[in-house]
């Protein structure tokens, strides 16, 4: 199995963080746009509903970033290079 350097781990973490950042940004922009047209009513009911929506959204974003970031990192790191046999070095 290939050994990863410190730089590889940093790149891997950076990619995951970048995807999570994009996910958070999309959530913030989306919420802002929706709030312009349908502002949330201050209510104990709406606070329960929308806080749960946010928890699910950001939990999903965390899992998505982790797995997709890992997928992209591995696809680039262990890509087939010209003149070498396939598979990780």
């Amino acid at each position: 199995m290939a050994k990863l350097s410190l730089l590889d781990y940093l790149a891997w973490a950076g990619l995951v963080a970048l995807l999570m950042g994009i996910w958070v940004l999309v959530g913030i922009v989306g919420s802002w746009i929706v709030n312009q047209y349908i502002p949330i009513a201050p209510s104990p009911v709406s606070s329960i509903v929308f806080s749960q929506f946010n928890i699910v959204y950001y939990s999903g974003g965390f899992v998505f970033s982790l797995f997709t970031g890992t997928l992209i990192f591995f696809a680039i790191k262990f890509r087939e290079r010209g003149g070498e046999s396939g598979g990780p070095s």
């Binding site: 349908i38 949330i40 009513a41 009911v45 329960i48 749960q52």
Partner: protein, 150 residues
Amino acid sequence: MEGHHESKAMRVGELLTIIGASAIFVYLAIISYVGLARISTGSFSDQKPEVIYVVGEQYDWRFIYPNGTVSINNVYIYANKTYEFVITSRDVIHSFYIPQLGIKFQAVPGFNFTIYIKVDKPGTYDIWCAEFCGPGHYLMLAKMTVLPPP
């Protein structure tokens, strides 16, 4: 020896993934259950709720107050007061949706479904029908007017 360490590391990674994913699901299940229970039972408020019947029909929303008054496509409630909306339908299935509160509940003929509402700030909020009920479905709109507390 190196192969043994690698397979052990992979095994640890697998277990962490399984346990981590399970923990996230369990956490989401618990908070969803608790939140839904609070909304469904009205336990977010200590007040005794005032009951308003909501009857959906093509293509109006009728609101029946405790004193028998009927209001069409407009419901008036007070801020900081808890209300129990008992939702049903007279003809086809409709869906009672208040987007600003994030509440949506089916209005089914022959069934009474209960939701609890409490709004903290006076204002006017939309009520939409969220279940296709016929050609006039897009016109089945109402308003919820929240008045300042008496």
